[in-house]
Subunit: 447 residues, 4 copies
């Protein structure tokens, strides 16, 4: 039996029921539907190409997440489900060496086949086979199957966010700057002009001391192995800002010549921005002295009081250094996030302060579960927690093998599925990546 | 007025009538229709990607050939035709520096937009505007317009062949090896078993002397500037084989260890095959001791007596050296091709001897105009003929600026439009290209 | 005045006297002499080339360390010392953006001039000018000058170790495998056959808890800024081995197929070893089933019970995973190193257990100050300690700007100058580097 | 016996006597001495490095030319001469696949050993062994040995020119711009101010017709295989300038914006100059509006009426196009060179017209045999002459395997050994090379 219990921790599943008390099969169907639904505004052409190696064609995401269920559930439990073509196991394995050969990641865009239609059919057939098999348990799905199913759905939801990252990147390459979202309905059309609330400039202070971090199994419905074990960390006194850095503040940083001043940058960061001629966030375009920004709703004028987005760790680091501050560690962030300034609303904090409306339309039905704004770079490297070990099987390849040369991001973003919002969640990217939905929150040492 | 008369030579167009005596507008419609028709068996996904830099997405060909008519005819003559999007002039200019900026050739596959549908509409709108404008001349289209139109159509036909090259390459990358042609109807199902005719092993001998080459304006309906001027070349006595090299012969070359024997190869060729780990023609796959070949009809067993195809110049050179022969010069080839062994049938010679049925279905309606088999590498570099000069305008960019580090191919292939078959036609590729439909004809010195 | 006091911390220098109670000028002369002396066994040819970008020509080290004294002392204090050539400031600035342009690091080997002789003369002239200037203070050298001088000498000593790393790499590229050391005098010629002491397989255990790390200013004669501030770290219970991994153990790891087993490797590590075809430590060569090793004394049979050396972090990580252990964090290592199993001899521990005699001759006079064996990879990323900040001037470029994508090594090696041995010293390299003198010490979690 | 007679053609050697009537052994000693003498002004450091892959370290040339005599003469005839080290055969084989493995060309600069001294000793030992063996024939050296010896010496002389090309490149990389030649003694210090003679602007005209080219065996003392066979070529009427293009003319070409005007360039040339940011000849440096040039005598002001040098074929092509002329074919050049305007002085023509004094000191004793100026690019690709075949052994690797993607240069330069001056000599480089001593002569079509 697969060692999946090593990969995530959580309460014992209850009989036949699953994921926040919702019916197992309904949950499966809803999540699987949403993945396809995200692609609904796209043309077939948008779903095929791979303009840079780290961006995958949307059709590949649709197939890979489905491969996950076939490979790790149907075939492990001996359910008869023939691959539509002999090439599927190789084409749609992302990087699991233990699962056989896989197609080179950077060449996914070389493949015109299977077509989008064939992949949609593949999804439908797998969904039918899986649901039919689950129904055959008559409401008594074994716990290990429930666990694998949960993992598959968490995995699928991670790819839902990746899909939006990749879609934005793919569309942005077109000189015509097409919109993913047809219309933008803002709750407050004056939003980009209203002054920030006074309280938003405040900082939260902590006196330091010994704290426990990592997921607490007792409270946990689900978490990944990299969020565990719970362990002690000693913090020095520190302060952290309630508000993330705004576009206006970042534009000031640019105007101050920060991209030309080497003393602000890490050595690799300086080389990175110069070799790639980076002089602004990923989707900013200078237009006769004004800044335009490409968003999922198309190109438009920069919204000054929205949080800056799509900056690399290197840019976040340089900004903090320019502001005579620093980035918080992941533990400083987590402690802050757990502080719950208002009862029952710890994540709304981020939603409000991030003013994320500039980046997505709040009332589009695609994003009804949005409750946050943008991921936040931390000063922490993606390292194992004390006592963490990954297994030597496929599930050991899920998180552990990436624990090198990556920085931790915390929080979540508008594109992050609701269930993934937890203060212990550790997202990670290398210091040069700009296509995730990233932002900057500043911190400092208190005396 | 554009200097297009410098780019090609030919008889003065006759009033209102055009291209082999066929009505001008009918001709335009037929050629334009065929380009789209070539893409008919494709999925949209096949039309978008660019797996290597020298292969263009099929949808790009559809748009670029249309850009040609807008840019070089409609807009030059002041016909009002607004571009569907501001990006079109840049996106669909291939490499004409004189016509403004152009998108980097190797990044055409980064663009999902405009979509295939939008490009089809663009074609339709351009065709309507152009035909309507031509009709407004009431049967008296000026000669310079006729000339430009002819050039646009010749250009379009060149891209028809490129389309088939690129389609084959794109489809072949898919591990499922999809077929472009649904069924294969062979005139003679025993063809790949029948022995070669005795006469096919014969050579044609020539005693050498001073000959004229290049297009003869008096006989010429149309030719490109690079085929001119007509000029004298002195040839030594030589012989040339009636038959091109077969798959079986080429398999023997491989089996003899030729790809491991450096003395057979040019220095650059040896580096090329080793750096790219080339050990057989482009579309050959070894399968438990037998050779399979990817064709436009899908993967199948190698047809032994079909001509070898998709080899680079380097491989053709090494084969000839292995066989103690050499490749013919382009002039030796042209003299041979003009020899007309049978009256009125000089190109059937190639058709018969090439046994090209292995590579295309003779009676598919897509290829009713096929009258040859495969291009043939010559030993000649692509250099200007004595007295040739290219203009400094856009038409000077058509042929002249590529006259470096390229080898001449002669003949034509099954995918070459009928009107392009002439013994003076100079095709060219660099010595490493394998995706054109290429083959080998051997020659030797006579004492 | 330069902000050098930010770069390192230490006791206030005493009047006129300096560095472990030794006379300032004598100390300067001794260290400067040793750098040149390290190059004494070399041919001029060895001092010029740069076979890979991260290895510098030895003559460059000789010039760069001298540039440091001219740029940061002589010229800062207005001492008249003209550069021998206008190009010197640019050529011998390593990477200090604040100090003007610098020659590209990877192209140092393009320069045949200045010659070795010219650089030796440059050193001599600078030494004369500096000593003469120091003497002019009549025994009362200002503290800030003393501080800068100390920094220059610590810097010079860091380059002494780099010199030996680079020399070994450069010589090893020659197929003739020349020796840097003429003869090898071992204390015990049977050393590679004697069994390990029983005690060497023991581990040291710690129950965890809250500890202080980083340099303690009160005890500190000198340390770099990256070793500060002193701060609390909470450790879980752990154990750590007294002995580092031996060549024999590492050979078993190889023989077990570890380089072909992806589940042992980090994802980047797996790509690294495969793209570079790495299948053994840097200087190992397989010879008919036996292992040879290139050492500074030339090529010879692998000494089985010597510690394995010249492995990347990726290999150290995979080895630990294969052994069902892990690497220690830098704090676990430091606590262990401070444990002082025997009074006054905390570093001899490493010397003995490392059996480093295989890698250098103990009684060569070049290395009389050797008291350790090899650097040890830790599981810690090179991150700033809580409260650390680097300045925005040149000294802020010394350490802080490299705090990304690097792993910490602790200990010191036979080539490390004696004065650099302290348990708080943080060396760092990226996870793929193999040319430093690196080794593996294993640790584990205690229940 | 080696098939060396295939590689070059010439008169039967006379008994014991050799090369222009000079004693065999004296000739050998003189040529071998000169190679080392060329390196006399260098520092050891200059002889080791390889700043770009196509430039070899001077010490490598010294060793390779010696390897040639050991490998192709001493060892072929069974003379006992052990290699100084097992690595020599591999290290100093340039590219002869038939002679076993060879070190990668672009990594010759990775080798600090053998040292310059060791290589000088290797040369001395080989010279002693070879001369002693030749003496043992008592004045009756067999013809085949004479042939091989002659080939070795011609080869050595080709490397003498390469040495000067590489030395100039290596020294020029140093920002201090060191001089190879200590002083410059010009016959006429006013030379760069004197007006060109009227006759120098004249062109030579030819009415065209059928001519024979290639070396005529009857008149030939020695030639390479690539200069044969003699064969007929038909030429159109043409004209060719007596004078090559001057620095002043080339500076006008630059000032006219030619490097920014795509219509002047071949497509590959345009990409080449832009990717490498080329805006002037290789050794030109712009200094406040004036041009400086690096020469073997160091950096100095551009001599305006000296011929332009160190331009690529692409630049020569663009210049000719800008001037509404073209480059001559190699046959047009050869016919012109053979025309002998003054009796017995066909090459002085080039010497005078080239004004080559700007590039070398006429009366330096290193170059007493100088009788020409600079190589001249032709419009001809380096293709085999009709009937040419190269053998499959080592000598077939000498010339034939490079006959692809190279352009022919004709003439010779100041660094070309006297014996290599013949109007049939075919030098060749690819179109992007600028470090040979190249220049431009213009031609045109006559009506």
């Amino acid at each position: 039996m697969p060692n999946v219990t090593k990969l995530f921790m959580g309460q014992e599943p209850t009989k036949g029921c699953f994921i926040d008390g919702v019916d197992l099969i309904q949950q499966y169907k809803a999540i699987r539907f949403k993945t396809v639904d995200i692609c609904e505004p796209l043309e077939i052409e948008d779903m095929v190409i791979q303009p840079v190696s780290y961006v995958s064609p949307p059709k590949w995401h649709l197939a890979h997440t489905t491969w996950f269920f076939v490979n790790f559930i149907l075939h492990r439990y001996g359910v008869n489900f023939p691959w539509p073509d002999d090439s599927y196991p190789q084409l749609f394995n992302s990087y699991y060496k233990s699962q056989g050969k896989h197609w080179v990641q950077g060449r996914r865009g070389d493949l015109s086949r299977p077509t989008v239609n064939q992949i949609i059919c593949f999804r439908r057939d797998v969904d039918e086979a899986l649901v039919s098999w689950l129904l055959s348990f008559n409401g008594d799905v074994p716990f290990d199957v429930q666990n694998l199913l949960r993992l598959g759905l968490e995995h699928e939801q991670q790819h839902q966010e990746l899909l939006l990252m990749d879609i934005k990147f793919i569309l942005s390459r077109n000189p015509s700057k097409p919109a993913y979202l047809k219309t933008i309905q803002r709750a407050d059309p004056q939003a980009n002009k209203k002054p920030l609330k006074n309280s938003e400039s405040d900082v939260w202070c902590n006196d330091g001391g010994l704290y426990e971090f990592g997921e607490n199994l007792k409270d946990c419905r689900f978490c990944f192995d990299n969020e565990t074990p719970r362990h002690n960390v000693y913090l020095n006194p520190y302060n952290i800002e309630h508000k993330t850095v705004s576009n206006e503040e970042y534009a000031n940083f640019i105007a101050d010549g920060a991209y030309e001043e080497p003393s602000l940058w890490l050595s690799e960061g300086w080389d990175f921005i110069n070799e790639n001629q980076i002089r602004s966030p990923l989707y900013w375009y200078s237009n006769q002295g004004a800044w335009l920004e490409y968003t999922l709703a198309g190109e438009r004028e920069l919204v000054l009081n929205a949080p800056v987005a799509h900056i690399s760790y290197h840019e976040a680091y340089a900004y903090a250094r320019w502001a005579n501050k620093r980035l918080p560690t992941e533990f400083e962030w987590e402690l802050y996030a757990n502080h719950k300034p208002r009862e029952g609303a710890k994540f709304e904090l981020f939603q409000e302060s991030n003013l994320a409306y500039a980046h997505y339309p709040e009332d589009q039905n695609h994003f009804t579960n949005v409750n946050g704004g943008l991921w936040e770079w931390t000063a922490s490297t993606y390292s194992p927690y004390p006592g963490y070990t990954s297994t030597h099987d496929a599930f050991g390849e899920y998180n552990g093998k990436f624990m090198i040369n990556q920085m931790v991001l915390r929080g979540g973003c508008f594109a992050t599925p609701k269930g993934h919002y937890r203060t212990s969640y550790r997202n990670f990217y290398n210091a040069t990546q700009r296509w995730p939905f990233t932002s900057i929150r500043l911190a400092g040492d208190s005396v």
